[in-house]
Amino acid sequence: MVGAAVTLDVFRYRPEQSAEPSFQTYEIPYREDWVVLDALNYIKDHLDGSLAYRWSCRMGVCGSCGMMVNGTPRLTCSTFLREFYPRAVRVEPLANFPVARDLITVLDDFLEKLVRVRPWIVREGEQPLTGGEYRQTPGELDRYKQFSMCINCTLCYAACPIYALEPHFVGPAAIALAQRYNQDSRDEGGLARLRALSTPEGIWACTLVGECTTVCPTGVDPAGAIQQAKLAAALDWLRRVLVPWRNR
């Protein structure tokens, strides 16, 4: 495969030059073991140092290098060029987020929503140190472990048509992380978290398109988390209607 080349069409947005974005085409050597991020690094090192994008770990852990690759939200560090070769590869910033420059999106909206769901263990009171650790069985761990694999890469927000149409939607990753703590046996904030999310902008905005789960690189299944939260919220509502005297 020596001498083979691949074409990358890369989204460029340079606000100091033009208010409108454009696509720039780069020809780079094709290597079978290169991922899209390797290609971008090649462009940055050898062809055009002005290209801006985020990346860090190169191994699917940090969640920084998410971009639209041929229209699909992907981690560019784990998307091989050979998946598309010899076709051209189109690289754009993640959909549904404002673009600051080239392939860099602004994530303020997601981070604000993430904090809103209180993604940490909430205790009504801490037990004294002499009480020892908060122990968990493997079964209790298994209840939330899947949701704890989220790396905040926001691919699910880029895949969600509801978030595109309704920007107030709290969104897949934030709700999956809320569910991660709701399912944790050490947490005591579940009911408050669930009631805060049981709103038109929260879980009820989701109509179960399911693309968040399809694109998730770590198998979190945010769509499942949202449906499970809907079920829990509906049961909570039913309990409050049927046995109002036991309300908390």
Binding site: A19, P21, G71, P98, P161, L165, V209, Q227, Q228
Partner: protein, 129 residues
């Protein structure tokens, strides 16, 4: 910092196969609602007397109405199949601390559907007493 906001696409649901199938699933509700209206009108005509009821039955036998019923049946089947397929995602079941495999939950859904359908068939075929 001057941010660029991409314009939202009007025909977003044809840009991706999964979005398209999702919108089709949501649209099936229109036909199911239409079928509900037909049933309600049927009840109203039944209450109005045998002649009105017979006239309505003749209307239902017209090719257009038969076509509508076939489409509504296809819509109901598509909606049901996708519904059963999504059930394990929305309702993971645990027995003795272990996750029940998703295909078993789907199978249980179909089994319940079959059992309830059999009861309905029995009530209908039993006829008036």
């Amino acid at each position: 910092m001057k941010l660029y906001r991409r314009p939202s696409e009007f025909a977003w649901w044809v840009t991706n196969r999964a979005y398209f199938l999702f919108v089709v699933r949501e649209l099936t509700s229109v036909f199911i609602a239409g079928y509900g209206v037909v049933l309600l009108v049927l009840l109203q005509r039944l209450a109005a007397g045998p002649q009105t009821y017979a006239a309505y039955l003749r209307f239902l036998a017209s090719p257009g109405m038969i076509f509508f019923h076939l489409v509504a049946l296809a819509a109901a089947l598509y909606h049901s199949v996708t519904w059963f397929r999504l059930a394990p995602q929305a309702m993971p079941v645990r027995l003795r601390g272990r996750r029940v495999p998703p295909p078993a939950i789907v199978a249980a859904g179909y089994a319940a559907w079959g059992a309830i359908s059999l009861v309905v068939v029995w009530i209908v075929l039993r006829g008036p007493r």
